[in-house]
């Protein structure tokens, strides 16, 4: 089984290929507007090396939490790719992807943080002995100081985002990556397959509320 993985949840636009459970390749570029402009050409580059679109069995996508715009670009592209040959779109939790990446170098309990906006971040503590569950991750959403209160630097902080805070010192900047998305999708294929529906949405997590919103007529 061949799976293309896409992660655009951060400003790292990353795609990867997993064939029969083995990571074959990853191509990633970091930068603004990278996902909206370069995602397709990265996938093209990825496939050209070893495989054709016809040989792909599923599209796996990092589902969130993360940048709303990034997540939507990734999922919309995945849906478009999958539509042509009615492939499943497998939603992989971004925290599980980041955990998988971090586990290559970190051999202890750790706290994963993905910045939302201002001083708010999504966070989860990963135990060394118990990898995150693929379909129910208890993710916290707090301001930096509360996150620090909770973990007190007991475990290393891992984050793809720039966290500017006096107390929280991320030990390493690691990004969720497309090859890990595809690899996790292969590992948990049946569970994720049941979540492949046309109206699939990103895991926005923090509920969007319309506050202090002033109407403005848009062009069109």
């Amino acid at each position: 089984m061949n799976i293309v993985g896409i992660d655009t949840s951060t400003n790292n636009c990353s795609v990867g290929l997993v064939c029969n459970g083995r990571i074959v390749d990853r191509i990633a570029r970091i930068g603004r507007s990278m996902a909206s402009e370069q995602l397709i050409s990265l996938i093209d580059e990825l496939l050209k090396k070893s495989i054709t679109m016809e040989e792909i069995d599923a599209i796996a996508v990092s589902i969130g939490p993360g940048s709303y715009t990034g997540l939507r670009i990734g999922l919309s592209t995945a849906k478009g790719l999958a539509f042509a040959r009615k492939l499943p779109v497998l939603p992989v939790p971004t925290m599980a992807v980041l955990e998988s990446v971090a586990r290559q170098t970190i051999d202890s309990d750790m706290v994963l943080m993905i910045k939302s906006h201002r001083d708010l971040a999504y966070h989860v503590c990963c135990r060394k002995e118990h990898p995150l569950s693929i379909d129910s991750i208890d993710i916290g959403y707090d301001i930096f100081s509360d996150i620090h209160q909770r973990y007190q630097n007991q475990h290393p902080y891992i984050s793809p985002s720039e966290i500017v805070d006096a107390d929280i010192k991320p030990v390493e900047t690691l990004y969720p990556e497309g090859d890990h998305v595809a690899w996790l999708a292969h590992q948990h294929y049946q569970v994720l397959l049941s979540q492949s529906v046309p109206d699939l949405e990103p895991l926005y997590l923090s509920e969007f509320e319309v506050k202090n919103w002033k109407p403005k007529t848009e062009s069109g």
């Binding site: 715009t69 539509f83 949405e201 319309v210 109407p215 848009e218 069109g220």
Partner: protein, 335 residues
């Protein structure tokens, strides 16, 4: 030639299939949840497009009985519009075009509104003068050919559609304002109150509507909301007439001056019944032929995007997979 069209620039998700010049299907799903906020909430719009686009494409292909493999090109709006909303449609289209190895056709939504006229009037040909009126635009455009536009006049502040929305907000009529004001104005008296008609000195083909909205606001403040409620039909009729006077006068004068015998209306405000009747009436006096899209193609729709995509396809103007969504795309900065 069959073109699949996708439109997600604002609060309508739309998918169409065009076979040569015939619309096989044009599905439009309007997002009604914005009404409670009095305008389009961008984040909500993006989320709704994300939810339904996939199913809408499936439904469009089913209803038109066209196989995806028989589609020649995939047309999609790349701007202007809301960034997040545009990206949902554009990203989907890019993925689809890549996986099917079909050409991607990035369409300017404004050009789409003009091209909507060719859906209803296949006999229409270039050149013509176009009055483009929508929530974001008020422009008089000389259209020499496809992709060849000269903007002769424009609004220096609010667009005409914006003026309608703002009036509806001041009068507490709901959203979107255009159709509501149009409906109430039909049973009101246009001579009830004389609102200002702005004339722009340096370019008489330009428009200004911001003073009009202010005049209404002050009037309602002065007379009170009860009075405004009681006279809402007359106020709508008078307000609308002020917009119409300027739109009609400037457009017809430009047509006469430029010796254009063909006049085309485009954009959401082209659905306004008073605009349609007044411009038809006066054009007849001057021997000018008037064209406007059917109501279905005045508002945002993917049929017009497909129709524009067809012209791009014929000219081999294919888009690269790296094209961006451009929220402020205009006819002038496009090419």
């Amino acid at each position: 030639m069959k073109i699949l069209g996708i439109e997600t620039s604002c609060d309508e998700t739309s998918v169409a299939v065009l076979d040569d010049k015939t619309v096989l299907v044009n599905l439009v799903s309007s997002q009604l949840m914005h009404q409670q906020y009095g305008g389009v909430v961008p984040e909500l719009a993006s989320r709704e497009h994300m939810r339904i686009l996939d199913s809408l494409v499936t439904e469009a292909l089913d209803k038109s009985q066209v196989e995806l493999t028989d589609i020649d090109g995939i047309a999609v709006t790349r701007g202007p519009g809301l960034m997040g909303a545009l990206l949902v449609g554009l990203s989907f289209a890019k993925g689809l075009a890549f996986a099917t190895e079909k050409p991607l056709l990035g369409v300017n939504h404004v050009e789409g509104h003009i091209m909507a006229n060719f859906l209803d009037h296949p006999e229409l040909d270039y050149p013509f003068l176009c009055l483009l009126v929508s929530g974001g635009h008020t422009q008089i455009i000389f259209v020499k050919d496809f992709h060849d536009y000269t903007i002769l006049g424009r609004s220096i502040d609010d667009a005409a559609g914006e003026a309608f929305d703002k009036a509806a907000r001041i009068l507490n009529l709901g959203y979107p304002g255009g159709p509501i004001v149009d409906r109430l104005a039909r049973i009101g008296k246009p001579e009830f109150y004389h609102f200002p008609r702005a004339n722009i000195k340096d370019n008489p083909t330009n428009f200004s509507f911001s003073g009009l909205k202010t005049a209404l606001l002050y009037l309602v403040r002065q007379k009170g909301s009860e009075w405004a409620e009681k006279h809402k039909n007359d106020l709508c009729a008078s307000y609308q007439e002020a917009i119409m006077d300027v739109l009609v006068t400037n457009t017809i004068e430009t047509a006469i001056q430029r010796e254009c015998r063909k006049l085309v209306l485009a954009g959401g405000v082209a659905a306004n019944s008073r605009l349609r009747s007044r411009i038809s009436e006066i054009s007849m006096q001057y021997g000018i032929s008037v064209y406007f899209p059917s109501l279905e193609y005045c508002t945002d729709n993917a049929a017009m995007i497909s129709r524009t995509g067809r012209e791009l396809y014929i000219r081999q103007l294919f888009s690269s997979s790296s094209i961006s969504a451009v929220p402020n795309l205009t006819l002038e900065n496009d090419f």
